[in-house]
């Protein structure tokens, strides 16, 4: 056949289960027990309320610049609730929902945005990486951790995140290339929230979908409705099961929307219309899932009220805990850099401590 089309064997699918109004496609509906469903809802709500609170704290000048996540709760919670503790998650920089589920305290989450390294100090026993600021730079770590699992012959998996913007970086390509070649147990979740600061999805790449980028790496891709927590859950769990079974990685594009600004330093009015935002507000993943749960009888007004109260209390405590621990010893920037601290650095540490003492800044030493 001297001229013919090449058959592409990579599977690229689309999946949604709940529609915009929370109506379920019963043929695709996963059989999840009520406790798990309720837990998922609770975590989505907690994520949303914490996000609102952080935005608020920023406006009051009580933390620094903050990157809100409103609208992306389903991607975060749906992707990780099915994992084991021994599995790993690798965040981008906008996944507090993941941290909350995985066991990070609210205090620690706030600490990051408050300007404290403690916000990246992964809690003991939690197999996560912290926020990765350089976009997409965390992707090879996903491959590397998963590769470690394979070398150590564990049946654990890694679920990791990147934004739509992050798919343009070389790290995306290299991480997926290696993942494909070494068939590592990794699930790459793209949070396609339509925007990378002011750059819309269609200016990020001429590829029609992000899921189809999997074709270049020899494994499957799937685009899911990222505002449908059931679809996210199902797609990720299928990928996780395949990864555990030694069948290699999967690329998942979760189509969602960043309802708020990029960060509190950003003015989205400069680059997008209110209509667009309104259109997406109608697809908000939280009320959509709530509707489904109410229809199912898992949730009612009373439960929602209780949840809200609980969450408010948890957040109040977290903020209080954070604000009770604002003291910082600046010389600590020397203390964790190396496992074996060089003598040279001890000298500089002493120089810094002496300067601070002269300047009347406490070092706690």
């Amino acid at each position: 056949m001297p001229r013919r089309n090449i058959k592409i064997e990579t599977r690229v699918e689309y999946l949604s289960i709940l529609d915009d109004r929370g109506r379920v496609d019963t043929a695709l509906e996963p059989k999840l027990d009520g406790d798990l469903l309720l837990y998922m809802y609770r975590m989505m709500l907690l994520t949303r309320r914490l996000d609102e609170r952080l935005l608020n704290l920023q406006r009051q000048g009580r933390i620094g610049t903050y990157a809100p996540i409103r609208g992306q709760e389903a991607v975060q919670i749906g992707s990780v609730v099915g994992l084991r503790k021994s599995d790993w998650t690798v965040q981008a920089f906008r996944e507090p929902g993941v941290s909350l589920h995985r066991g990070w305290s609210i205090n620690r989450i706030i600490k990051f945005w408050g300007g404290y390294e403690e916000g990246c100090a992964v809690p003991e026993g939690v197999n996560d990486t912290p926020i990765a600021v350089p976009v997409a730079s965390q992707l090879p770590h996903i491959t590397g951790i998963a590769w470690g699992m394979k070398i150590r012959k564990k049946d654990d998996v890694v679920v990791g995140f990147v934004g739509d913007g992050g798919t343009s970086e070389g790290d995306f390509h290299e991480a997926l290339t290696f993942a494909g070649v070494f068939k590592v147990p990794a699930v790459f979740v793209i949070t396609n929230n339509q925007w990378a600061i002011s750059i819309p999805r269609h200016k990020q790449t001429a590829s029609k979908t992000l899921a189809q980028k999997a074709v270049g790496y020899g494994f499957d891709g799937i685009q899911v409705d990222g505002n449908d927590v059931l679809a996210v859950y199902v797609a990720v769990q299928e990928a996780v099961d395949r990864a555990r079974a030694g069948k290699g990685p999967t690329l998942i594009e979760a189509v969602t929307y960043r309802l708020a600004m990029h960060t509190t330093a950003d003015d989205p009015k400069k680059y997008r219309s209110d209509e667009e935002v309104k259109k997406w507000e109608k697809r908000d993943p939280v009320p959509r899932f709530e509707k489904y749960l109410r229809d199912k009888g898992v949730l009612d007004d009373k439960t929602v009220a209780e949840l809200e109260e609980d969450i408010a209390e948890r957040i109040r405590k977290g903020v209080a805990e954070h604000e009770a621990t604002l003291d910082v010893n600046p010389v600590e920037c020397f203390d964790y850099l190396y496992n074996e601290v060089p003598a040279e650095l001890e000298d500089q540490r002493a120089e810094f401590a002496a300067a601070l003492e002269r300047e009347g800044v406490g070092t706690g030493d």
Partner: protein, 326 residues
Amino acid sequence: MAQMNMVKAINLALREAMTEDDGVILLGEDIGQDEGVFRVTEGLMKEFGEERVIDTPLAEGAIVGCAVGMALYGLKPVCEMQFSGFAYQAYHQIEGHMSRYRNRTRGRYNMGMVIRMPYGGGIRAIEHHSESREALYAHNPGLKMVIPSGPRNARALLIASIRSLDPVIFFEPKGIYRAFREEVPDEVETMPIGRAVVAREGSDITLISYGAMLRPTMEAAEDLSEEEGVSAEVVDLLTVSPMDTETIAGSVAKTGRAVVIHEGPRTCGVGAEVTARLIEKSFFHLEAPIRRITGYDVHFPYFASEQAFLPNAERIRHAARETLAV
């Protein structure tokens, strides 16, 4: 003459350079529609169109690599790295091509291109947004590494950088982007790349600095004079590489003492280079060891500690005092 801050002055320089040469093309993340995360490119896409003020996908390597291609083609690309901490994604293009192409082709192709990047601390930003790594580029042959210290020289040096047919890394001290205003002349003004200036004359000690650190250095000099009667000369390097050895050596020949001040890490930093050159040129004028007041050899801390971490006037004054006491 108009009063303006550094953001406006840089914006002015870009507008002027684009007006005088239609080969000047800006490219970067969020520089068009959004006008830059610091609003440095305000109004430019509107004025010059989407083909000359280009919002790129998110990939620093390609921003620089494509700019290398444009420069080969004879255009004058001016790239923006959103923060200097993300230029490492492009470092292989900077080192491997931008800094080498002219030499490699024996002058057949110039690399008339500029990479602008905000650098340095002081804006309460998250990790990777506060560092100062000018020494990385100063150590790299083939580049010119420029760092203005105020609105007027920022505008003049950026014009000179864009006009130059050599590749320039242009560090913008974002900590003082909007800290103060200066008179900026109405006509296009340039300053020579590679020349330092004596920002304050003095006779007892030379304080050598650049970029955002010039302000605390000047403050220290004033304090020393007012409170201790010490006459400190301040040299503003403006170009870190090629370094203006003549001016610093000239000053130290007069004062016999020096302190170098910068934010970046100490080891193999610009302070080390200044010291080494002064030793080579001015050893017998020196009456005391040269002191370095710099960032320490650790990563820039998260912002709760940044004000404590950054070199300040008090630390500079202390070092000057100790140097004078020798």
